[in-house]
Symmetry: C2
Subunit: 325 residues, 2 copies
Amino acid sequence: MRKTIVEMLKRAGNDFISGESIAGELGISRTAVWKHIQKLRDSGYEIISQERHGYKLKDAPDLLLPGEVQIGLDTQIIGKDMDYYPSVDSTNRAAKALAYHGARNGTIVVAEEQTGGKGRLEREFFSPRVKGIWFSVILRPNFLPKDAPKCTLMAAVAVAEAMRRFNLKAEIKWPNDIMHGGRKLVGILTEMNCEIGKISYLVIGVGINVNIRRDEFPDALQPIATSLKELNGGKDIPRVQFFRAVLEEFDKLYRQVSAEGFGMVFELWRRYNVTLGQNVRVISAGDGESFSGRAVDLDEDGALVVETAGGRRTVYAGDVSIRHG
Amino acid sequence: MRKTIVEMLKRAGNDFISGESIAGELGISRTAVWKHIQKLRDSGYEIISQERHGYKLKDAPDLLLPGEVQIGLDTQIIGKDMDYYPSVDSTNRAAKALAYHGARNGTIVVAEEQTGGKGRLEREFFSPRVKGIWFSVILRPNFLPKDAPKCTLMAAVAVAEAMRRFNLKAEIKWPNDIMHGGRKLVGILTEMNCEIGKISYLVIGVGINVNIRRDEFPDALQPIATSLKELNGGKDIPRVQFFRAVLEEFDKLYRQVSAEGFGMVFELWRRYNVTLGQNVRVISAGDGESFSGRAVDLDEDGALVVETAGGRRTVYAGDVSIRHG
């Protein structure tokens, strides 16, 4: 109902549209229309009302409101249910709570701001208000827990494909970062709840630096972070459209993976990745051991194969820095 | 304080011990003693009180009370914290809630009865009152998520080693059952919460059929289940002592695994297992595909290697039935 009202307001453009005509078209009372308008205002729409003229949309806001994102969203699984927060501690935390209470496959949690956003290993993740896309996807896949790490690669490829639609070049660094010119654009954090042999749910958190100017990053991040806006010659990227593109690419890949496995994800990942062929320094998760070598391949589990002086080593999780020169 | 009172009552054996002498030894008032006695009664101790005589323990109950189990428990990590329920829906469910709220490594949840006990894949698990040991262990290990399935093997070996202390022979069936003569004695359910590269927590649920007579099993289970009591020629097994033995063996193995990896677990597992060398029928978790072959080995991840007509196949999770004749 509210979606229809928003569509009517948008069609009217700069003109007012009367409560009566909205009421007539929807077959509801003018009081009911007024109540819907209030709800829309509560969720972020700026709607002007004028006696005898009716209602007018002041701004189609570039907010990631479900009503905005879902209009024309071409997906089958991802984003059919969407939870929206103006501000939340962490979308992954909120998504895990939803998943625990039974949220269905493909449910999205999105926020304009995270006050306690987290990357891997409890690291802070900078997530300022309306400058990025901070979201989490709940998946209940049919594949095995051991395949979960590949979902990080899948999410990275989905964002890279969305960037391609906007003529922006993505560089994926193993396993979970999208970079440009050595600076980080996107971080991904995959969490899992499972028993042996069966995933209960996956929560894949994605943080995309969209319209953050370089000087808006905290000092410590300025040398290592960048944004789509910077890549785009300083011009803003429309967040709603970009988010839709990410969800559509994600949906396409996820359906393909569910039907045929991770073959296509691996193929696309190889196309975008900037880690293979490089000299890298690795700090392993778990034991914290560090070593250097040349990143030569992905294995079938999505782990990184590194050729060292002492032979080939397989890295399942850890920090990889690319060594230049 | 309460532990000391229980110890004093036990030392007194069949004699009464006066509230005054308990109060004197502990340096507290007689009213305080009386309050502690009430608390002990609430938690399951039957304590007789008689004017002018004092208190007497009617029965050191064979309940799995923390105060009973922890006396003389020789562990460093497992069971230092213990949550006890006369009845609970599922110890794994309770343990996951505790873990979510920060319970420390080695915390135990134990119940006299589960009203909604679960095995793998949401299957029901029969857990009648005071007839078994139904418990869950919370672990926060330093190894990688991909190593979690091996913890099921570790738990199976811990129970098998405890059985050996009681001169009972365990037969471990891959991956998570302990059997005797083809009937199930013990079930294990491992659940995990993790991010890529880091386990947040593992919850390992163990259900041991201790003193269940064959005719006490539901009809459907009678042909496929058995108990330690049946193995023991119909004689009851003291639950508190057996539980202590399991926790001690678990503690020993877990510390070894944390320091040196799963080598010893694999070695002991091979000693107890009845799956390797057998013709088996496998129904894979995930895709549900089934096939037959000979179980020939464990791989380094604890997966079962099966030699089929079409070559070797690796089973990460699923149902394996041993085919005789």
